[in-house]
């Protein structure tokens, strides 16, 4: 017992040391297949009116980068801009029409009157009609300039596509580095563009299955730090955490209900993995599936009426769904040998899965109404799909050579991009809800 206690203490110390250290490795993003019908837009450099030098990456660069990565926009390079107006009066629409730009954004960054933080003042125009489409002031706190830029991109994206942007959200993922006894796992949170990765938990034992709370403040995850799987819930900004489940057998696959009051999870205390629902206020847990097969990977429908899960009760893994108080599960995916780990689209109409065929696994989207699959990615070992909170893209894990990388694919499969970690294995991305 003494040895075990010491080991636990050591692990605890190790976790304490690792927590809150910024991960050294940066995510690097590159578009691997583009969209020929992307909208041409010019994000003119924002004028910097604050005291002191501007940031190393300017607001307009961040906005351009966001819009570019969405695959729906083709931002003009700054060096191709014949003029760089700051005020509406300075825009010569004829020039921009000649440059074949459809939309133009101008703006500036200034200190608010109280001097705290940043004010991003910007306007969006239709070059052809010369119409002012959007005129806004976005105010953010000190240190949140990048967040402010993502908010600008969100607003432009929403104005021009009709869908809210998801650039000011975050992503969580697991990294694994080293082999054997030097193995180290971290749960990392970064901006949706991969910037500013921060390790929020580190451990020599496996970490997996990160899941966001609906308010974007907490992450639930599975950790083996005590020698078996256990579910923890951690406040992303304070680091305070709570042990949710560490019973005999598997404690896995946490998923918050849309209202955050319940959590679906996999427990095998009955002898094999079953879906359970935990009331977060009382801690009471109810088992809602009852089958000798593997039932796991529960995830809620956005209206909270269904829990989708993976089960091999029919022989091979397929997606089923059941009400959150139990009942007879209904099979959802009707094609393919292996469909697992569902992510439900924000409108509840589609589910993205890891689809296996032989040794190849791809991300596929099942349309619940038309009962058809669309395969979105080329494989070979693509898994862990996670819908963006606006449904526009799906983040997933894939492999390149022997290392894992993250990629994102547009929901229609037309645009793919790669987010590479410079070191080790990166896996199990989870896209945060919209943080208001």
């Amino acid at each position: 017992m003494k040895v075990t206690d010491n080991v636990r203490k050591l692990i605890f110390i190790f976790i304490s040391i690792l927590a809150f250290q910024a991960a050294e490795a940066q995510l690097e993003i590159e578009i691997i297949s583009g969209n020929p019908s992307a909208l041409p837009i010019a994000i003119v450099p924002f004028q910097w009116l604050e005291a002191g030098p501007g940031p190393s990456t300017s607001v307009d660069e961040i906005v351009s980068g966001d819009l570019y990565r969405s695959g729906l926009f083709k931002p003009m390079a700054v060096e191709d801009m014949a003029e760089k107006p700051v005020e509406e009066e300075g825009i010569r629409f004829g020039t921009w029409r000649l440059l074949k730009v459809d939309y133009i954004v101008i703006g500036k960054v200034r200190s608010p009157t109280d001097g705290q933080g940043h004010e991003l003042v910007y306007q969006l125009f239709d070059v052809h009609t010369q119409e002012l489409l959007l005129s806004r002031v976005t105010t953010v706190g000190p240190g949140d300039l990048r967040f402010g830029a993502h908010r600008v991109a969100d607003a432009i994206y929403e104005k021009l596509t009709g869908v809210p942007g998801a650039f000011s959200t975050r992503i969580a993922y697991i990294t694994a580095t080293g082999l054997g006894n030097n193995q180290r796992y971290e749960l990392v949170v970064a901006d949706a563009d991969g910037f500013g990765p921060q390790s929020i938990v580190g451990s020599p034992e496996p970490l997996l299955s990160p899941a966001w709370s609906p308010d974007g403040r907490k992450l639930a995850y599975v950790s083996f730090e005590q020698g078996n799987s256990a579910i923890y819930m951690q406040d992303v900004s304070t680091g305070a955490r709570e042990l949710i489940s560490s019973g005999k057998g598997i404690n896995g696959a946490p998923s918050f209900s849309p209202d955050g009051k319940r959590m679906a999870l996999t427990l095998s205390r009955s002898g094999n993995p079953e879906i359970n629902i935990r009331d977060m206020a009382t801690g009471r847990t109810q088992q809602i599936t009852q089958h000798w097969s593997i039932d796991t990977e529960p995830v809620w429908s956005p209206d909270g009426r269904h829990v989708y899960f993976t089960s091999d009760r029919g022989g091979r893994p397929q997606i089923y769904r059941v009400g959150p108080s139990g009942g007879t599960p209904e099979r959802v995916t009707l094609e393919g040998d292996y469909n697992a780990r569902a992510s439900v689209s924000p409108d509840g109409r589609k589910i993205a899965v890891a689809q296996g065929r032989g040794n190849e696994y791809r991300i596929a989207v099942w349309d619940i109404e038309t009962e058809r699959f669309t395969v979105l990615t080329p494989g070979k070992l693509d898994e862990s799909p996670s819908f963006a909170p606006n449904g526009s893209m799906i983040l997933y894990a894939t492999r390149e050579g022997s290392r894992g990388v993250l990629s994102a694919v547009s929901a229609d499969g037309n645009v793919r991009q790669r987010l590479i970690l410079s070191e080790g294995d990166v896996r199990e991305p989870a896209w945060s809800p919209v943080i208001r």
Binding site: I250, G271, E297, R341, E428
Partner: protein, 174 residues
């Protein structure tokens, strides 16, 4: 004591990994059955078939020294060639009531992580069930699934996958 076995296990894993990187064999084969005893007096050396003798844990001639059981893809049935190893450990545990065994179940990287946790547990349960049927008490056995999280090698090919689909028999007390 526990840390000693941890190191032993680490060594076993390290050796398995080295084998994974160097050999060309498609499938890890269990050692062939040792030849039957001839009645010759070996004066004190452990009888490799005496699975109640703890010296056989370090005797490469004895099945008790083998502590990894391999599985087919997406299967949790103990293959016939590994039943001898399971029986040897069942016999040892049955005859040593203080022995405690953790069966660590593992899967290869194919398929999703949480499903593979289930699969690793199923494999651990299969070995646990066989050992129970052969006299090991339930209180002596525990199953922990690591799914695909603790591979012994990290190459995406059949050879490496077959080494990762396994149950490791770990004694926490002998």
């Amino acid at each position: 004591m526990k840390s000693v076995w941890k190191y032993t296990l680490a060594l076993v894993i390290a050796i398995t990994m080295a084998a994974c990187q160097t050999t060309q064999e498609a499938e890890p084969e269990p050692e062939p059955e040792p030849p039957p005893t001839t009645g010759v007096d070996t004066s004190g050396a452990p009888d490799p078939h005496d699975y109640t003798d703890s010296r056989n844990f370090d005797n490469p001639e004895s099945l008790l020294s083998k502590r990894v059981i391999y599985f087919d893809f997406d299967k949790s049935t103990v293959r016939p060639e590994y039943r001898g190893i399971v029986s040897a450990h069942a016999a040892y545990a049955a005859s040593h009531s203080t022995a405690r065994v953790t069966l660590e179940g593992h899967a290869d990287e194919r398929g999703t992580r949480e499903y593979n946790l289930g699969l690793g547990e199923r494999r651990g349960n299969a070995v646990s069930g066989l050992m129970s049927a052969q006299g090991t008490r339930g209180s002596q056995l525990s199953v922990v699934s690591y799914g695909e999280e603790r591979p012994t090698c990290r190459v995406s090919d059949d050879e490496c996958w077959s080494l990762n689909r396994r149950v490791e028999v770990v004694y926490t007390a002998r």
